[in-house]
Symmetry: D3
Amino acid sequence: MNPPTSPRIHPSADVQSTAIGAGTNIWQYVVVLPQAKIGQDCNICAQVFIENDVVVGDRVTIKNGVQLWDGLRVEDDVFIGPNVTFTNDKFPRSKAHPEKFPVTTISKGASIGGSAVILPGLTIGRHAMVGAGAVVTRSVPANAIVVGNPARIVGYVDTHAGAEPLAPAKGSTEILESKVKGVQLHTFPRVIDIRGSLTVGEFGRTVPFDPKRYFMVFAVPSIETRGEHAHHECHQFLICVRGNVSVVADDGHSREEFLLDRPDLGLYLPPMVWGIQYKYSADAVLLVFASHYYDSADYIRDYNDFLALAGAAK
Amino acid sequence: MNPPTSPRIHPSADVQSTAIGAGTNIWQYVVVLPQAKIGQDCNICAQVFIENDVVVGDRVTIKNGVQLWDGLRVEDDVFIGPNVTFTNDKFPRSKAHPEKFPVTTISKGASIGGSAVILPGLTIGRHAMVGAGAVVTRSVPANAIVVGNPARIVGYVDTHAGAEPLAPAKGSTEILESKVKGVQLHTFPRVIDIRGSLTVGEFGRTVPFDPKRYFMVFAVPSIETRGEHAHHECHQFLICVRGNVSVVADDGHSREEFLLDRPDLGLYLPPMVWGIQYKYSADAVLLVFASHYYDSADYIRDYNDFLALAGAAK
Amino acid sequence: MNPPTSPRIHPSADVQSTAIGAGTNIWQYVVVLPQAKIGQDCNICAQVFIENDVVVGDRVTIKNGVQLWDGLRVEDDVFIGPNVTFTNDKFPRSKAHPEKFPVTTISKGASIGGSAVILPGLTIGRHAMVGAGAVVTRSVPANAIVVGNPARIVGYVDTHAGAEPLAPAKGSTEILESKVKGVQLHTFPRVIDIRGSLTVGEFGRTVPFDPKRYFMVFAVPSIETRGEHAHHECHQFLICVRGNVSVVADDGHSREEFLLDRPDLGLYLPPMVWGIQYKYSADAVLLVFASHYYDSADYIRDYNDFLALAGAAK
Amino acid sequence: MNPPTSPRIHPSADVQSTAIGAGTNIWQYVVVLPQAKIGQDCNICAQVFIENDVVVGDRVTIKNGVQLWDGLRVEDDVFIGPNVTFTNDKFPRSKAHPEKFPVTTISKGASIGGSAVILPGLTIGRHAMVGAGAVVTRSVPANAIVVGNPARIVGYVDTHAGAEPLAPAKGSTEILESKVKGVQLHTFPRVIDIRGSLTVGEFGRTVPFDPKRYFMVFAVPSIETRGEHAHHECHQFLICVRGNVSVVADDGHSREEFLLDRPDLGLYLPPMVWGIQYKYSADAVLLVFASHYYDSADYIRDYNDFLALAGAAK
Amino acid sequence: MNPPTSPRIHPSADVQSTAIGAGTNIWQYVVVLPQAKIGQDCNICAQVFIENDVVVGDRVTIKNGVQLWDGLRVEDDVFIGPNVTFTNDKFPRSKAHPEKFPVTTISKGASIGGSAVILPGLTIGRHAMVGAGAVVTRSVPANAIVVGNPARIVGYVDTHAGAEPLAPAKGSTEILESKVKGVQLHTFPRVIDIRGSLTVGEFGRTVPFDPKRYFMVFAVPSIETRGEHAHHECHQFLICVRGNVSVVADDGHSREEFLLDRPDLGLYLPPMVWGIQYKYSADAVLLVFASHYYDSADYIRDYNDFLALAGAAK
Amino acid sequence: MNPPTSPRIHPSADVQSTAIGAGTNIWQYVVVLPQAKIGQDCNICAQVFIENDVVVGDRVTIKNGVQLWDGLRVEDDVFIGPNVTFTNDKFPRSKAHPEKFPVTTISKGASIGGSAVILPGLTIGRHAMVGAGAVVTRSVPANAIVVGNPARIVGYVDTHAGAEPLAPAKGSTEILESKVKGVQLHTFPRVIDIRGSLTVGEFGRTVPFDPKRYFMVFAVPSIETRGEHAHHECHQFLICVRGNVSVVADDGHSREEFLLDRPDLGLYLPPMVWGIQYKYSADAVLLVFASHYYDSADYIRDYNDFLALAGAAK
């Protein structure tokens, strides 16, 4: 299926728009209304329907049985599987139309699995992956993988969660280097005596900086709670004192997931590493040591900003 | 899209029925078989398929990718979202057809969200709302909102559940008037001493009638258990002694939801108020005082009957 | 051992008091200091020691190895077993004496089992029974049986707890008459359907009065919580809605214990019956209907007063 | 709709393949690509799309809105409901195609309910039943019924699970014959005394063979764990000592499901009966007595092999 | 303190009996009433009191502050610590004497720790050990060690519970020989796979006999439940399938305690070994294989009988 | 009872020792064997028995019915209540004497409540308080209060546990000064947002030093686990991250108890303060920051040494 350099439209299709990019294919029984805009080198498969207030980027694939309603923005390199359903009215009633339809954005490089459902007004983040059959009721962060009804985050793409190099044996005392720049997983000694178990860290020795601050996160309301940000200057050291939490570290080029589930396990996050904490167990208590006092200007809270600062935007 | 006064049928559609009401639009690639009946001012979107033994009322919207099979009855003002799937055989096998297809009814004013699935033989009640992606395996009562796979009731439309006017502070002793005619939420004193906590109500004083009867509901088998009815004459007073339960009160014009979760909270339901109890916690014990001895003739068990009696049918 | 009509004192004893009643025996190696007063027909066994500020009533038995310290009051018909230990200083230090010793009272007819320990300043109630080896840290109510370290109430004397006449079969609907005057145990219908279980009572029909008031006791802090009182006029009807509680009913002549452990079981207590609620399970919720509004003058809170009013004092 | 003996293709369809069997109907707006192969007497409903590397057997029904992608194999007598979604790339990205698509097989006689989703590379077993709206993420064994997102096995077809003939009363001691050849459900005596409960079986008497071996299955990781096989020679006797487990027995002709949930209930499985254990509760401990020492050659692990050996293949 | 060959009685003592054995010492301030009988070589320490209907054997030690009341039988070689308290009336009331006192027996070789309390009518078994301060409310079996209020069995004398030779490593497969004649602790393979854990035994191979019978004990009502007996002919093999239980094996000469807490651990008890099961956890399920069908004549239920049959009586 | 300056011995007593201090009283029926040593100004009450290898200090009170056996050391100012029982053989058998009796020490100023039992070989620490009826099976640390059977630490004398000055309101941010020199209770901010709760401390600002080390204590085996020590140089800061723990701080002059039960509560212990951690809840995790790296020479582990260093020995 080598695409031609001008759009190719199947004769059975009803394409009323002229804003169709070069190299784009439109197949059987497709309907495209007059104001829709479609980029270059797209593949619009049979039985698709595209309304007016819709913008589709370049190199987008839309499989059969999909409708793109008013308000949809589909960025470059997106994949939309067969029978995916979009919606643009949260409480639809026949003959009752909202004054303005909410904007739904499918960001660059994202993929939406077959028969997934996307509720109105959401953003699906860069390179996120929506599983087949998922019913997405909240926006999906960049790189996240979501599945289920309602959809929940189950991982992040390219993290190799659970891979062997970073699963230290209980009882060992060592430092494992992540493929993410500067990130380290420390195992501290665990001493068991009649008073119970004891674990210890020494600042400037086994913990790689002198802390100016600690904080603890606890009473996390649900398994879905999630935090994401990076720091310009501040070093962090994370220990899950009770329960467990998963942490994804991302330097803009590589990404890795860690399960913190023992008080003798510490994760060192240097500055300019994007950190995601998620999958808190109900009883989780996360202790964080920070190398600097609190400074809101040190936080990078937008992933796109982070990628730009990390020289990794693409 | 100002609809014409006679049906408008797109030339690419294959419409074999002539029973199509005035003002109805039928779009691209739609198939309608000969015996189907469709009312006035409907919108039948592209790629829809309608079999023979199907009746569609007035002002109905059917979005793309939907099939209406034999046995389906769609009442006035219904909205059916894109890619909604109906079924008419509970255990389908190829080439094995049931003698008669079960009747599935979508009642007046109901909405079905995109990609929802409706199992055969069910009734979706008046103004009910089926969430996008829901898989509906049981009939849905009037005004109920259902989501998930399998679908569960999560609320009732227009109840403003959890709104502030009716969330009394713990420890206060007061009576809050609902917007539902005559319904009151009472907070009783709670005394804490070394023997535990004690709460007290006085009949004819703080409870607005003298009871002839009490009953208790307990050992509720699942979170989905639900009761609905109104009374001609009987007053009721509900206290959730243990656990919690949600109660929706409805006078035919207004509707409000209450969470009963403390033994010092009582809900007064006068006669001619439709009451729904649902979302019982596993350990819920609901104590009800009634102003009359049991009389089956005093019960109104059909919501449409209730609306008629309440002068609220529409 | 037929006692003589004047006190008989063994020659090895060192009895310095002259206030010893007729018919009392004092045995080998006993010491009695000068101000002690001992009634008639007592039996003071070998190796007993009695200090000065001690009053012992008539027909008291004191077994070997017991000391009665300053501050002790032992009423008529008391039994004190071998090696029972009394104390009269809560935080004793050598050579540090309190200015005044607290008064410890062993009421009429009580028995203290061998080797029990009684902390200072307590009252052991009429006919109470302290088990052998018990360490009594709180006062013991009339008729109660206590055992253990620390001592806990495990029953009341002469209640025939758990006897067969008053253990109704689940599912039956009947009224059982107690041997305690006017007290009834009611079993209500229990209906089980798909909504859970339901039980119902009708005021003036199956519940023997019209209530003016209900109250609920819940969040009971510990298994030891206990209430005791009677009413002049008020009828009560007790239902344990959740968990279980034991109730002792006492008309001054007979006493009976009931276990309320099902929401379809109700206990009717007429006026002038002393009621004790105890052994609350952690999750107990006790619902009480009362025939009168609250009136503090209607309460009888002292068991001796109750016995007098009931014509049962002895 | 009496099918003609040659394929009948609606003029609005775009059918590019010539390998279409006699008696097959192809309806409106269907697309069939050139290399696709379709058998006899099929019904390909409106708006279906069939790619190239697809093989469809005889007597297959494909309802509206379905796409069959490269890699799909649909055996005889399969039913595919409306809007069912197949997928052939587990991690789809636009413009990134796998070198080779995984093969997905829908086995003989299986049915897939409306709007179900089938992930790539799976096999749906013979006569299996996929519920409407199910999202199937793992292969489905023969005869299994799956529902939900993700899909879970909830039963097996034609087992009459929970039917009355085989629900013995607690306390009885008896042997119930299954409709499955030779299978018996034994109830053993249960003696309750002050030491707890005791149950006993006698080998060669109440257990119908002398065991050479016992084994226990415990610490079952999840509710979805499942085992399936038959034996040439070995007799088995299953007792669920703790928790509960469901067992399906199948002689190739009849099938029956048993709930083992009491230590005094034993299920006898003779040789040449296919046994399935599933729905283990979290605390289940399954004790099995076997008439032979372990011999791997005695196991039949493939259901098709079993049907052939049982003379039941069809 | 070399005792003389005739009884030596301190002049301060009041000894009214003449039935005192040779070599017995009686110390200061002791009282012995006329009908009491005391054996040879006893030591009756200062301040002891002995009533009339009392029989004391040979070589008995009675420390200070003890009273022996009517009904007490103290066999040879018993030790009674200081301030031990006996009782002979379960519900004592002053001046109310039972017609006949219950007999309390302290069997040969038993020891009673200081300040312990023994309730009336009990038997303390041979060589049993009552801890200091224990309050004994039930009879104590031979060799048992009891402590606490109320007293509970915490072990058996000379069992070396928890000693190292018989604590097999998890995962090993081996047979450990007990010092008790013929008793073996077997460790079976434990296989862990995705279906959970599996353990297996082979009759006549890894289990040392072919069973005629199995039985299971479950729903054990309390931690104090206990069984004791031996068999003439029957071999037994015990596996604790769930929870844990302790087993004492005793051949009349040696005694050993085993903790069964894993389904892959089996204890072989040959005939003529006295077995005690106790310390059942709340969820314990004990599976027993027996080499013979049930025969009540095969049971030896009295420990003294067992010792005689084992040639171990002394 | 004004004591004379030379020992006063009642004529009925049998005192065979001459090592009796001036001002000591010995009362009726007491026995003292020849080698016993008793200090000045003691009070030895009636019916006491003292063996040979016993040393009693000055100003000691021994109430009636007590025996002091070989091996007992009673220091100055001790109080021993009535019927207290000492033991000197852990597994007593009649006529079997240990070669040497273990030494039991009652330290200076300790008090033992009536009828308590002390097992052999223990030390009761300075000023400790043993409750009436307690059965002491382990040594008791200085100042501890123990009760029950077996005896457990329930507090420390003069700590005013739970007193009001140091119970900060939840939500406040403040530092409370203890009466113990330099000890501070810090309340940190607790921020509640949708991610759960968060608390934060700043080193050198709100935490009064820069840490060199942290350690965590977790998996504490039982409620009785207890640690006690002081530091020469090291500052400590304690936070109970999960569950709760009680801490007693003691500067040699004053003592105070703190309940740490919230992650936003921190206790600062400067050098030369004796700290006791006890009453750990089952889920307790204690986080400690230390101002120095670990140095065993910095620990003071003996309370008497600490008192001497603190200039507080007496």
